[in-house]
């Protein structure tokens, strides 16, 4: 078959697809009237089109049956047991909770052991010191071993001094708190003592006031003769 004219295959395809405007369509139609090679090309494309359409019709012929098969497959009971979105989260949450409970049983807090805590803090501080020493050693590869030992000692001493200072601050705080408590207890005892004293005074006054009427009653008896004497 002769080849179509240069640049024409594209226009012929567009002509076939209906993609040209009126002017373009007429131009191609005019060319086709005078060019057998381009007419043959158009005819070949039309043949392909017809075959494609026939293939499409062949597929479309069984479409209803296919749709029914798909609907059956979609509604098949086996397809229904999918996990709902919240379902999988519920399962995950249950697993996490179970793990948490299991971990909690083995790691539940015990009463604080001050000595043990102190030992742990010391171990942690020493580990930190070691780590810093190792880091310093790595960074100071060009320094002598003596310098590095000095540096390590300084770092350790620095950390120890820091820890001692912190402990001293803590002890001061505790002492201050104790002093304050003692002062409060003393104040309270003083207050109690004062109120006791007040109570005693009041009781004494009451006793006196009880004793006084008897005296007063006895006085007129003693004074009566005096007044009568007057």
């Amino acid at each position: 078959m002769n080849e179509p004219c240069e640049n024409m295959p594209e226009q012929i395809a567009d002509y076939l697809l209906g993609a040209l405007d009126e002017q373009g369509r007429q131009a191609v139609a005019s060319h086709l009237e005078t060019c057998p090679a381009c007419r043959a090309y158009l005819q070949a494309l039309q043949d392909h089109e017809q075959t494609l359409v026939a293939l499409g019709e062949q597929i479309a012929a069984g479409m209803d049956e296919r749709e029914e098969r798909v609907l059956e497959a979609v509604n098949r009971p086996g397809r229904r047991h999918r996990v709902l979105p919240w379902g999988k989260w519920a399962v995950a949450a249950a697993l996490i909770m179970a793990s948490g409970i299991a971990i909690g049983r083995f790691t539940s807090p015990r009463p604080i052991d001050a000595e043990r805590l102190k030992a742990e803090v010391q171990r942690a501080v020493l580990a930190d010191v070691n780590r810093r020493v190792n880091t310093a050693l790595a960074k100071a590869a060009d320094q002598t071993a003596e310098d590095m030992r000095i540096m390590a000692t300084q770092l350790a001493a620095g950390s120890k001094a820091m820890m001692n200072a912190r402990l001293a601050e803590l002890i001061d705080l505790i002492e201050t708190a104790r002093r304050t408590d003692r002062q409060r207890v003393a104040d309270a005892l003083m207050q109690i003592e004062l109120s006791r004293q007040d109570d005693r005074n009041q009781i004494a006054a009451s006793l006196r006031s009880l004793a006084t009427p008897a005296a007063e009653l006895s006085v007129p008896d003693q004074q009566a003769p005096t007044s009568t004497n007057n």
Binding site: P9, L17, H48, I59, E67, R79, P85
Partner: protein, 174 residues
């Protein structure tokens, strides 16, 4: 009965009304199948993958954010599943083998064209199949593939020319 739009049906399915999925299948299965045919190059595999795509569409429908976009979404699922199958089974090579094998006399033209379609690059094959297998509407193809109509015309033009080259090229000589 008044026809419900896609977004209403999608919402109904999300609420648990499974029956609402049937109209979505009837509305979109054809394009799903055509995309599968276009990618895989044969109807048999395409039917299996299209069915799988519709089932996946139901299973994952809650993940669909734009509910009025069910069609393009399920078509995309179908396309991805088809490409995955194509990779697994290396259907491209088998399609090429089919193209060079001798077809029976009565179906020669149709099988030749089908084999040639299978040999087209995917970006040309997809619009070509959707256009000729589904009413020759450029607008529909553009909507389904989410491209412009001029883009579809461009692909169709190139696909027709490439198809012709494959069918008349030296590889097809007896």
């Amino acid at each position: 009965m008044e026809q419900q739009c896609d977004s209403e049906l999608v919402m109904a399915v999300c609420r648990g009304e499974r029956a609402a999925y049937a109209p979505l299948v009837r509305r979109h299965y054809k394009h799903v199948l055509l995309v599968c045919v276009a990618v895989l190059g044969n109807v048999h595999d395409a039917e299996d993958v299209a069915q799988e795509a519709m089932i996946k569409g139901l299973e994952k429908i809650r993940q669909l954010k734009e509910r009025d976009q069910f069609g393009p979404w399920v078509v995309k699922i179908a396309r991805n599943l088809s490409i995955n199958l194509l990779r697994r089974k290396a259907i491209v090579e088998r399609g090429a083998e089919r193209a060079t094998s001798a077809p029976s006399a009565e179906n020669e033209s149709r099988e030749d064209v089908q084999a040639a379609v299978a040999r087209l690059p995917l970006d040309l094959r997809l619009p070509l199949v959707m256009y000729y297998f589904d009413g020759r509407s450029v607008k529909t193809v553009a909507e389904k593939l989410n491209v412009s109509t001029s883009g579809v015309y461009s692909k169709l033009r190139a696909a027709l020319r490439e198809l012709h080259t494959i069918l008349t090229g030296p590889g097809e000589e007896p």
